[in-house]
Each structure stands twice: as C-alpha cells, then as structure tokens.
Symmetry: C2
Subunit: 426 residues, 2 copies
C-alpha cells in the first residue's frame, strides 16, 4: 500500500489571539457553566482589538468528570449555551487531564481544515462537590478500569510507582522531588490566580501564625526541608509522594481564542502562532517497557519539534505536566530539556528550572500550585505562555525574551500527551 508519507503540516496557519480563565481554586456555588462564563468574559477583554462573540464559529470544551461531579454529561454544549453561542457547534472532549489541550488541538485542526476561521477552545472542571476520597475514585476512572483502578490503583499510587522506579534506576531522592514543589510554589506565590498562591515558606509562616492564634504549640521548622519532611505537616500520600508532591483538587475554567493566521492581526498586533503540535496515546503501566519516563511524551516531543523545525534547546520556557513532582522530573527529560536521570531530577534543586534559570519550567506555579481542574488545565497552561510571551506576566515575568514556548499536557499517567509549540514573531 503506497500511501502518502505524513508531512504533519497544517493547510493553514493558526494563531492564539485571546485568553481567559476563571479563578482556580475551591469555588463553592460556582458550576462549570459559571466558571466558563467567567473565563469567557476575561477572554473577550483580552482581545486587544476586540472580538464580536457572534463571529465565533465553534466551541471545543475539555471536561473529564462533570458526569459525576455535577451529574452533567456533555458539559461543553451547556457552557456554549451560557456564553450565548448556540447554535454554534460545540464539542466536549474527555482525554482525562489532557482534555483541554485536545480541545485546543481540534480547534486548531478545525481552522486549518478551512471549516472555521474563529474558534473558542479550552475546558472546565468542577471537582470539589464530592469528598476528596470520592474525587480520587472519580479520577481513577481515567486509569485502566480493567487492570489498574479495579485493582485499587489511584493516581497518587500510579505516579508513586513511577517515582520509586526512578529512585531505583537513577538514585533520585525524595528531596529532589521536594525541590520541584519548592520551585513551583515560589512561582505560584507570584500568580494571583493560583489556587496555592504562596511559597512554602509563606505557608509555614501561616501555619505558625494559626497555631499561635489557636493557642496550640507553634511549629519550630528551621527551614522548608524540615517542614517538607514533617509527617504531620506534609503527610505521606503514596511513598515517596507526600502531600506537597501532589497537585490540589481544583475548580476552574480556561479558554483560548484561536483564529486563522491570515486574520490574526485583525484581533491583536501580538498573536501567538502555532508552530508545532502533536498528540500521542499510551498504554497502561504494566504494558510499558519502562516506568521512569512517559513514552508518549518522548514521541510527541519529537513530532512537535519536527513539525516546528526546532530543537528542545530552542524552547525558552515550558509549562509541563506536574500533577505530581515526579511528573515534572520525567517531563523535562522526555522533552529533551535535561538528560534523563540525575540531571533532570536535580534541575529544580540546582535552580536550572527556576523563574530565571536556564530553562524556566512552570512559571505559573504549574498544576502543583496554580491548581489542576483536570478538564481545563491544558488551556490554563496556554494562558501562562500567552502572558509570558506577551510580557504581561507581572512579577513572574521571565527576564529572557520568549520567542518560542511550549505547553506539555498529559492525560492520566501518560495515556494521552499533547504538545503545542507557540511562536511570537517580532
């Protein structure tokens, strides 16, 4: 069979010209629709030269668990209704924690196809309606129901499995992982929309003040490392992952406005262009040759670099998937930013991935601190890139000039990987 060799080239360029997100956090009384409306309103304001909502032709919405957290399936169309876009086509996508990135990808493909010129894409997730234990089980439906979740695996356990394998193979230590949390909290402290909008030192101080106020013994941690090793302050979730190695449970929505490249300047003088993109699927943990990387990330990275005509070295900053600290360690190796093993594991400890390190990673605070509303997170990542590339990131603006940046969004434990490479021209 002589088929066409894959070129992975879009028939038409696509650009991001707007971004909006709701607050990320525990938002009692706010439904998916409410949060989506908040994100949409902010998006409308973000478009420098304005956008008439009537010109939006389609809405792609990532959402993983509204069927359970809100007893609402196919939530995208109801969000579409609440922002006044009916009868425009609305597609709801469930690719676990990569849902919003898959939504954005399909919005891009819809424009590249010629069907649309202007598309809204993003996601939403309302996660705090159930007790945490129940929410952990809802999330576990994203793993393999046949072999993983039925056997009792939940996501902390799945990532802990990868973490212990990493420790075994490379000598990675729990402290290495703690430095990832420290770094992402340092960034999150500078992000007013982050759910955990504080550094670990600030959190320690808040804990001390609360203890004093409550008339309880005031903790005497001498530094963050002592705090992070304190079993009562930072309890073990699944060895070696402690509470501060895990992202929080989050309500939130985020959306981007995608348009055909040839009309991008109608909306802003500073669009972000899609330069590369890729998506892969993956297998259950027991069906992989290795537990110390996400194979789908390695494949997706190569495809995205090939499409963009760039290398890992050309990417200035990246928002990578850090649902657990070990996930960031694996991601920055799989993406080619650092060598697998010790170099990747110690990158945070050595300041290489800090806000003004050689390769700033998760300047937003990452899922770890910004929060991880699973169906929305991929769009939230694009938002950070949007702000950084446009030099609108305020106190967390990186010093380097960011002409190329990446989002890397993982579904489940690597069964979905979506990468986008964004370019700023001029």
């Amino acid at each position: 069979m002589a088929n066409i060799i894959k070129k992975r080239k879009l028939g038409r360029g696509v650009a991001v010209v707007g971004f909006g997100m709701s607050k990320f956090g525990v938002l009692p009384g706010q439904s998916n629709r409410d949060m989506f409306v908040d994100a949409f309103k902010e998006l409308l304001k973000s478009v420098d030269k304005g956008i008439d909502p009537k010109d939006i032709e389609a809405n792609y919405v990532g959402c993983c668990g509204a069927w359970n957290w809100e007893t609402q399936a196919g939530v995208g169309k109801w969000c579409t209704d609440w922002v006044g876009l009916v009868p425009k086509p609305s597609t709801t996508i469930d690719n676990a924690c990569a849902s919003a990135s898959v939504a954005i990808r399909n919005g891009i493909l819809g424009i590249a196809s010629g069907m649309y010129d202007i598309v809204l894409a993003g996601g939403t997730e309302k996660m705090t309606t159930l007790p945490t234990e129940a929410t952990t089980l809802v999330l576990a439906t994203g793993a393999d129901a046949t072999w993983e979740s039925y056997a009792g695996y939940t996501f902390p356990g799945l990532y802990a499995t990868m973490a212990t394998a990493h420790m075994h193979e490379y000598g990675t230590t729990p402290e290495d992982l703690m430095y990832v949390a420290l770094k992402n909290h340092a960034n999150g402290a500078l992000n007013p929309k982050a759910q955990m909008n504080y550094s670990i030192a600030q959190w320690m101080e808040m804990r001390k003040q609360k203890a004093a106020k409550d008339g309880k013994p005031v903790p005497t941690w001498k530094d963050e490392m002592e705090f992070l090793h304190d079993n009562s302050a930072n309890p073990m979730v699944a060895y070696p992952l402690r509470l501060f190695d895990c992202c929080p449970i989050t309500d939130g929505a985020a959306v981007v406005l995608l348009v055909a490249e040839e009309i991008a300047k109608n909306f802003t003088d500073h669009p972000l262009y899609i330069r590369g993109m890729s998506q892969t699927s993956g297998r259950a943990l027991h069906n992989r040759d290795t537990l110390t990387c996400i194979p789908g990330t390695q494949i997706a990275a190569q495809q995205a670099y090939d499409m963009a005509g760039v290398t890992a070295q050309d990417i200035k900053i990246a928002e990578v998937h850090d649902c657990f600290t070990i996930a960031e360690v694996m991601a920055i190796a799989d993406l080619g930013f650092f060598k697998p093993g010790k170099e990747a594991a110690t990158a945070a400890r050595e300041g290489k991935t800090a806000l003004n390190g050689i390769k700033p990673i998760n300047t937003s605070g990452g899922l770890k601190c910004k929060g991880h509303p699973v169906g929305a997170s991929g769009a939230g990542m694009v938002g950070e890139i949007w702000h950084q590339m446009r030099k609108e990131a305020g106190p967390r603006q990186v010093k380097m000039d960011v002409d190329l940046a990446m989002t890397h969004n993982v579904g489940a434990h690597g069964t979905d990987v979506v990468i986008h490479i964004f370019e700023r021209r001029g």
Copy 2:
C-alpha cells in the same frame, strides 16, 4: 470587525473507504474494548484493496457513558490500545447520542487540515451493565442537569413533551407514530446486525408461540395496530410514547475509515465522498420557541445543503435520528424532506418513507430496531449509507440508485445535531 466571511469549504476532500461494526444488542461479557475490536476487524476486511493498520494516524471515538456503565472514563484511548494503534493520537468525544458523528466530523476536519491522511473514527457504548432504571438515569445526565434532569425529566419524558406538542399543534395521532415503528421494524427485520431483527408481525407471532409453549392464554391480536394498542404487550412509557415508540438499550461499536480524497482510490474503487457536513448546538427544552421541531436540525440541514450545493430533494435516502418515533417525524420535516405537521406525521403511514417509498428513511431499521448504543450510533448510520450506496445492503437494498445520501444524528433532545452528506461518483 471585518473578519472573513464563512465559506464552509474543506481545504482538502475526504472520503469513507471502510466500515465495520460489532453486533448491536445485549452482549453480556463484551466490553467496549471487545466490541470496538470486533468493529475494527470488520472494518479491516471491508477495505476493498486492503489497509495496513500501521497507516492509520489517529482514532476519534464517541462514547457517552462508559464512566458509569464501565467505570472507565476516556474510553477511546483504551480502544485504541486494544486495536494496536498506540501511540497514535486518540480522542474521546461526548456529545451525547451524536458522539460518533462528532468523532467522524473531527476525523474529517483532521484530514482536511493536512495533519492526517488516514483516520479511524466512530464510537462505542456498553449500556447493559446496569438495570434499565439506572441506565435511564445515566442517560438523563445528557439533558440539562440544572433545569431538566434535576426536575425528574428523563429522555422518554422529554420526547413525549415534544410528541404531545406535535399532537396539539398538528393533530398528529399516536397511530401516526406507530406507523413509524412498523416501518422501521419492517426494515430491521432485513438487517442481520439489528438488535430487533424482526417485524412487529414476527414479534407478535413469537409472543403467541411463547404463550402456547408456556401454557398461557395465546394472544388474539388481529393485526399490528391492535397489538400496538395493547397496554400489556406495548405498555405506555411516557404518553403518547409506548414501548415500541422507543429505541432499545444497546451494546455496540461501529467505525469508519476516513482518508484524504486524493488517496481514496488506493483503498477502493467505490469510496463515498463527503459532500456536505454541519454541526449545531441547542438549548434546553424550556428555552426554545417551539417544541414541535429541533431547531438545530433545521439550521444544520441548511448549512449542509449549502456546503454540498444540493437541496433536500436531491438526497435519495437518509438515516435520521429516531431514538423515539416522534424524533423521526420531526427530523424528516426539519430536514426538508416533508412538510412539517401532517405530511411528515403521515409519511410512514402512507409508505412514503418505506424501503422503496419515494424517500426511504432508516433503511437499516433505524435506532429503533438496529439499536442505539449511544456513543456509536452515528457511525452505525454511516454504515447503512455505506452499504446502500455500494449496493451491498442485501435484502434491504433500495431499488433506486443512491448517488447522494445523508446521516442525521441528534445528541440529547436536540442540543447536538450533526449531518453528513455522502456522494458516490460514477
């Protein structure tokens, strides 16, 4: 804002070159993955000149309720794994009962965009793991959780509301609806893959034989109309909809193989080309101006006809969404095949929509008889068009030459509508 006027023209043509489906029905012990594998195997055999699965570049899977019926979210990627397509990108779509058609639409857009040349798209649904009452509630999550399902509405009730409005406005009778069921059962009797593979007369005969065998009083129905009015044989579900006005609950999977038009002849000398396509969203029932039509179908029909450059009269046959008999009556009016009201309501009674009527509708037996595995149904519809246009429909092959045909797939009570118009050339 001077944006580009929408042309709705694909940058590249797309064709269907293969189709496969599992048995539709109650399939104990068969998971979504098992059924998807069955459908995929049949698809591989259906490609006249063969396909190497390694050439498939992406998999779009519709699925609405696996999170509940199988405790498995994002089921598409697990199907992708089980047919050996990892690490190809896999997207899971939840647009209620239109999920598979939305999957196919996005597969088409993916090819038209230039990103892919060869895409697998379809859907799967495992619905019989829970008691029927629970399944009805799972399905109700597809309605508006804020205003409909929370108030006790389920889908039979929502469609019954539209049916009574139709009776009120147009004088439509319950008998008119019964003739839709009679017609679709006549077609389903000729479809070996149909869940209800029997005419209503055959069903009556089976009931009589069983009664005789069980030593019970043998029913004395003199004809189908008497049977259909028998409260014990055909009980009321939600007035005026009785059991035989409702589609069954079904396990099943179906997939199509989509390729770029320029390589279609590498796979078969008889591809079906995508000539028109459209998708709309809709609002909750109480937010509509009318209850006697699906506004989204009317809009989608016009868009698809415009894109295809054809009229309703040019469409030779159509598979339309008949989850309930009233749905078919509304569809054939909304699509412009018959005048709204009496003409549409009596089309089945007068034989106009019969297998060899002037406009054959649901030659497969429709969702009503073929079965309605909600996430897969849209792909099943394309399968019937595939067989009919290629003159491979066996005893239910229509006599007319089908050069243009349509699938019309509705999500929920009209909150999603997807139309595809297929063309056979030569």
